[in-house]
Amino acid sequence: MILRALLQIGVLLLLPPLLLGVVNRVKAIAAGRKGPPLLQLYFDLAKLLRKGAVYSRTTTWVFRAGPAVGLAAIATAGTMLPVAGQPAIVSFSGDFVLFAYLLALARFATALAALDTGSSFEGMGAAREVSFASMAEPTLFLVLVVMARATGSLSLSGMLGPALAPAWRAAAPALLLSAIALFVVALAENSRIPVDDPNTHLELTMIHEVMILDHSGPDLAFILYGASLKFFLFGALLVRLVADVGATGFWSAEGAFVLELLAFSVLVGVVESFMARLRLTRVPQMLVGASILSVFALVLLLR
Amino acid sequence: MVLFVILVPLVLGALAFSWPDNRTRPGLLVAGAGLHLLGILSLWIHPEGPVMNGYLFLDAAGKVVVTTSSVLFLASAVYAQGYLRSRDDRDNRVFVGGLLVLLGAMTTVGMAQHLGVLWVAIEITTLATAPLIYFNHNARSLEAAWKYLLVSSLGIALALLGTFFLALSGAGPDGPRSLLLADLIRAGPALSHPWVRAAFVFLLVGYGTKMGLAPLHSWKPDAYGEAPGLLGALLAGGITNFAFLSVVRVYQVTNAAGEGAFARDALLGLGLLSMALAAVFMAGQRDFKRMLAYSSVEHMGILAVALGLSGAAVTGAFYHVLNNGLAKGVLFLAAGNIHRAYGSKRIDDVRGAARRLPISGPLFLAGFLAVTGTPPFSPFWSEFMILNAAIGMGRYWVAGLFLLFLAVIFIGMGATVLHVVQGSDVGAPSRPGFRDGWLTAGPPLLLLLAVLALGIWLPGPLLSLFQAAARLATGAT
């Protein structure tokens, strides 16, 4: 039992950077390039953690606390996510509300840190981040509500647990719709194309990247690692929802889970390489569309 | 003692007309008011039976109104000391004498058990008031007096006709052939109904004009606007209440004759109409003394509505007679002070009164809150009693309109009052030499304290008095 918990934590803490590496590699291949090694992000993190940081005269302790709080919040959220068949470390009725609000806390901290620099670019990025997030938040909730309705459970572990398979038999269309909505939210929350371009170089078009312009050294490492962790969380949520191969054994379930996550990263990479970034003014429409989709899914279940 | 409280003011009035000295003459007012109040108090302690073979008797209903106006008159009399001192230029012979005669006549109205006597007394109050309105001897006050006299004389003539009708209704071979209230009520159904109805209509229009029920109210804004503040107080808190008492007397007879339903509908209609007109005319009123006139129209309307509702509402009505009388005293006396201090009663000129008159300004505001039925002041309770009665007997529309009008009036009146009281008074016109003195600011302050005290604790005897008056008015046993 202890071992399994440790293993779960291990997967939770170690796997995420790899996923982003996979995404980038897929994009590179699609673009006909060789691309960076799969473990590039690990190298970056290691390097950054060893470096010192440069701070602007404008900034206060808020700027320094931001990345730490962000990372801690995301990691804490992670403890509620059932990694494989078994329930998560933390699981109680209504925990998904805490899950969502912890992610919000991370956003709050990063955005404040961005505003602390007093730079117009970072202000811009923070504005876009919180605005789009507040449009994505209801969708996430709606999806979770749909799952709660379908599985009759009010905790993430329950929603994504064994009750899911029968739920798919009962209410496949609703769950499918909400899965699509969740995918859109995942792209938006992790600032991927088509919402945001993680490796653009024009500040005016950035969202997440421009927020963290001024962070350097370990702070930047925290932020990057937190981002990958968040990506992992959404990915896990999604794959548990759609691809719950009823694997029973612990190891097999674990393995299947990791494979599904890699597949999710590949999918994201494909989307990124074959879609263009939307104009910023179009992003709200997409997010609202997603939430309408999930409302429809909920109505299908309630009617 | 009954005759004493009537005669003392009259005698002193006569004395005032022959009193040589202009400075000391106002003292007679205080003397008259004090003796009058003492007499009333002794009547409270040792009630007396009918005198002058039943023509005069202070019953519960009369007691409420007479006591109210006696207190109010005392306050005004004290106020008059300060006021007339500031108006040394003017000969106050007629003013003082008229006021005392007015007091005597009012008391007579309160005690009259004979409709003829009642009518005579009402007529005297009118005649005594006209010259008082004209106290300022300028074109505006003259116009006001003239209008007051003409309109209310019309009303009084109609009232006399109505009195005749009533007499006629009892003139049948088996009728009482008398105008004594008791006889008429005892005769009850024996009275000839058509005549009773006709009488009620004429008397309601007649005394309603004195009350100032809309649309018979047209004399009020002019008279209240031009008369000195203390006369306004006596008009709004005294004479109009006595007119209401007269209507109550008439209603007693009509009700006893079995025409109550008709009478109630008529009262309800006029009352609601009055409140509506007050609500309409209050809005955007630029002259704060005329505004008070419309407030008086409103409260007469409330009384009429209460009487029209009958039942428990009438208790509230008599309570309201007291509250309204006192609160109106506060408002008019404070308004008079503000008028003196600014030499204007247009709200375009007057602002920051709370600064310039540290007592009268806030008093004006407090009086407004009191008269619009805001706790902790007593009108809140009487208005609630009336509303509660309306809802209790399922007259939801009446209650709804009642509340609606109260709300609109509150807004209309408050806008004006706040405009006058708040802000800074720099740049406002000023009349040097007038500031709050104890003689001018004390009386309204005491009246307000009385209203406040009644709002916090209503003595048992008063409540039972109101109930007795209500039983009397509605003929309930």
Binding site: - | V117, R140, E143, S153, L154, I156, W195
Partner: protein, 215 residues
Amino acid sequence: MGAWTDMAFILVVVLDLFLLASSRLGAAIRAVALQGALLSLLALLLTSSGHDLGHMLAVAGGAFFIKAFLIPWLMFRAIREMAIRREMEPLVGYVPSLILGGLGVVLSFALSRGLPLPTNEMHPFLVPTALATVWTGLLLVVSRRKAVTQVLGFLVLENGVFIFGLLLTDFMPVMVEAGVLLDLLAAVFVMGIVMFQINREFASLDTDALSSLKD
């Protein structure tokens, strides 16, 4: 005897109509005076054997003195002292007011048929005449411009009321009766004083000048 009474009543009504039609102030005042005289006469004519004659004489005398003599004199004096133009200056034309008055007369006679008189010994014309006169008075007050003419109207109104009062002479206490007369006197008297004051304050006695008091 009865014929005289009928004549008197009819004359009162005719005077009402005349007042409505007359364009001359002086004539109107004389008409009111004549009406007052007629009333005091009626007061005597209507006294049946039932009442004490002294009282009725007092009432009739008082009425005659005030209505037919004192008040007309006051008004003439007012007109003379203030050089009031002698026209009535109606707001409502003579013909319409005449028609209204006639209508009032017809109605009052018609209505008073319906009114059940509890005292049967009274004269049949009394109530209708009273009502018609009251109506005329009100019409005059409402429809004439000058203050003097409004006082006239008020007087006619009081006359009507007085006529009606004659119904009750037998059981209405003396005091009230006296009070009535006294009040009428006082009312008109004060009005007269007021009118002099008006004259001092304003150029004419036109009540339209009394319209400075607005909200």
